[in-house]
């Protein structure tokens, strides 16, 4: 059996499991980030903070949250690929990597869809379409997804080696929420702080998406190759770890 068929069948299965058998389930995928954006919108509005020039508050938050969610949600789903699906591994043609590929693909498709719906709606309301460079957005989303896949694989491997590592994932992931540019742009930061946060590759994916969406956002500090190197290294380490733990997966 080809790997393609297996990944295809897994993707359908994962979609059904996550969103339920009804079409309405897809709405939930939309509701969660929409509520998050709304919460921040209200908070920002009360705090009297406004978006950097050339951006509406809504699209500023949305362009930050969508790539971040692709990253963090891919990490979560990939690192649970074995433990959440142990029974599937009884079918010898299903390998952990197949589950990982299906989940990465599903997360990517979900948040690209969410992004399109949310910002599409805003464009309709404001009657103003201003996508500066769609390819940059695709690039940013792709990088966020690859970073998530790589880090998720690393956690997947470490989690099979030790239980403590599995529990450490949540706390380790939390700082990303604050330093990935959901609430700020790299340009708006004091230079010293900027130096620091630019070490975070996820921030570069957010910056890329904003550069792609906002026409006048030229002061981007995104270095795509930096994020790409991170993604490739994480993927290499993650795939290596998968080979190490492959024989140790305990089905019982």
């Amino acid at each position: 059996m080809g790997q393609y068929e297996v990944v295809h069948a897994l993707t359908i299965r994962e979609t059904r499991t996550r969103f339920g058998a009804h079409q309405l389930g897809y709405l939930w995928a939309l509701v969660e980030p929409a509520l998050m954006i709304l919460t921040f919108y209200v908070l920002f509005a009360f705090a009297g903070r406004s978006a950097p020039t050339g951006m509406t508050l809504f699209s500023f938050i949305a362009t930050g949250i969508c790539p971040f969610l692709i990253f963090s949600s891919t990490v979560t789903f990939v690192s649970n690929a074995i433990n959440g699906n142990k029974a599937l591994l009884y079918y010898p043609q299903v390998n952990p990597i197949d589950v990982v590929i299906a989940r990465v693909f599903l997360e990517f498709a979900t948040y690209v869809g969410v992004f399109l719906v949310l910002l599409g709606l805003e464009t309709l309301v404001l009657r103003k379409a201003s996508v500066s460079d769609p390819l940059l957005i695709v690039y940013g989303f792709g990088l966020a997804s690859l970073l998530g896949a790589g880090l998720g694989l690393v956690f997947l491997g470490l989690g099979q080696l030790s239980n403590a590592m599995e529990r450490a994932r949540g706390p380790l992931m939390r700082p990303f929420f604050w330093v990935s540019g959901i609430f700020f742009t790299a340009d708006g930061m004091p230079p010293q702080a900027r130096e620091l946060v630019l070490w975070n590759p996820v921030l570069h994916t957010v910056e890329l998406c904003r550069a792609g969406w906002f026409e006048r956002y030229n002061d981007t500090h995104a270095t795509p190759s930096y994020a790409l190197i991170w993604a490739v290294c994480l993927l290499l380490v993650g795939l290596l770890l998968e080979r190490v733990v492959r024989r140790k997966i305990d089905l019982t």
Binding site: A9, I12, R13, T17, G20, R247, T252
Partner: protein, 218 residues
């Protein structure tokens, strides 16, 4: 044909590695049904998972000719939040089978009525077993691995299973684990005994049973 060459498998425990299978070498020819006997904890189910390819051995190689089933009698491969139909579709797809045919045959065999279109978590264990068994019969395997399947289900279900197995034996092989001697005698031609000291195959199931019972007395 299934050939195991020097298969070793151990699990790590807090008290050091527990060697379950120690250097097992055996050849199981096609067209025969082999009953495997062994005490609890001897490693029968581990052996089945390794033959089926669900787990990898620590060392050694396995040669499989033909399509080998997953250990039948196990319904854990189902996802509880999906319907019986969706679960069957998934399995049919990964085995490259005609999805509609597999669905029809499984539904007919399982006799769970409209529950077939409801989430598997609402099933009783008997219903789950019937769907799982029907599904494994709907896919054409060359070798069926059977792990205590007759332990679940009522008399009627057991009879139905036995009938399907007998019909299948004309063109498929079977490797069966059971603690029920009558079942093994009825279904298997050859027998094997798995103990800590190794895996020995006998030409008749009766011979294997007497060796196994001899071992229990000691």
């Amino acid at each position: 044909m299934i050939e195991l060459r020097h298969i070793t498998k151990s699990y790590s425990t807090p008290f050091g590695p527990n060697v379950v299978l120690d250097d097992i070498t055996v050849l199981i020819p096609t067209g025969q049904s082999l009953g495997i006997l062994g005490q609890n904890g001897a490693g029968k189910s581990t052996l089945m998972r390794i033959i089926g390819g669900a787990e990898m051995p620590d060392s050694g190689t396995i040669v499989r000719e033909g399509k080998v089933s997953w250990p039948i009698g196990f319904a854990g491969g189902f996802n509880g939040s999906l319907t019986g139909e969706d679960n069957c579709k998934f399995v049919a797809r990964i085995y490259g089978q005609d999805v509609d045919r597999v669905i029809d045959e499984t539904r007919e065999f399982a006799e769970v009525g409209k529950y077939f279109y409801m989430p598997v978590r609402t099933y009783s264990s008997g219903m789950k077993a019937r769907v799982a068994f029907g599904l494994s019969m709907a896919i054409d395997f060359d070798v069926y691995l059977v792990d205590e399947v007759t332990a679940v289900g009522d008399k009627r279900f057991r009879e139905k299973c036995a009938a399907v197995f007998n019909e299948r034996q004309a063109y498929s092989s079977m490797i069966m684990i059971s603690h029920s001697m009558p079942t093994l005698r009825a279904q298997c031609t050859r027998g094997a005994v798995l103990t800590k000291s190794g895996f020995s195959v006998f030409d008749t199931i009766d011979e294997a049973i007497s060796v196994y019972e001899e071992g229990l007395k000691r």
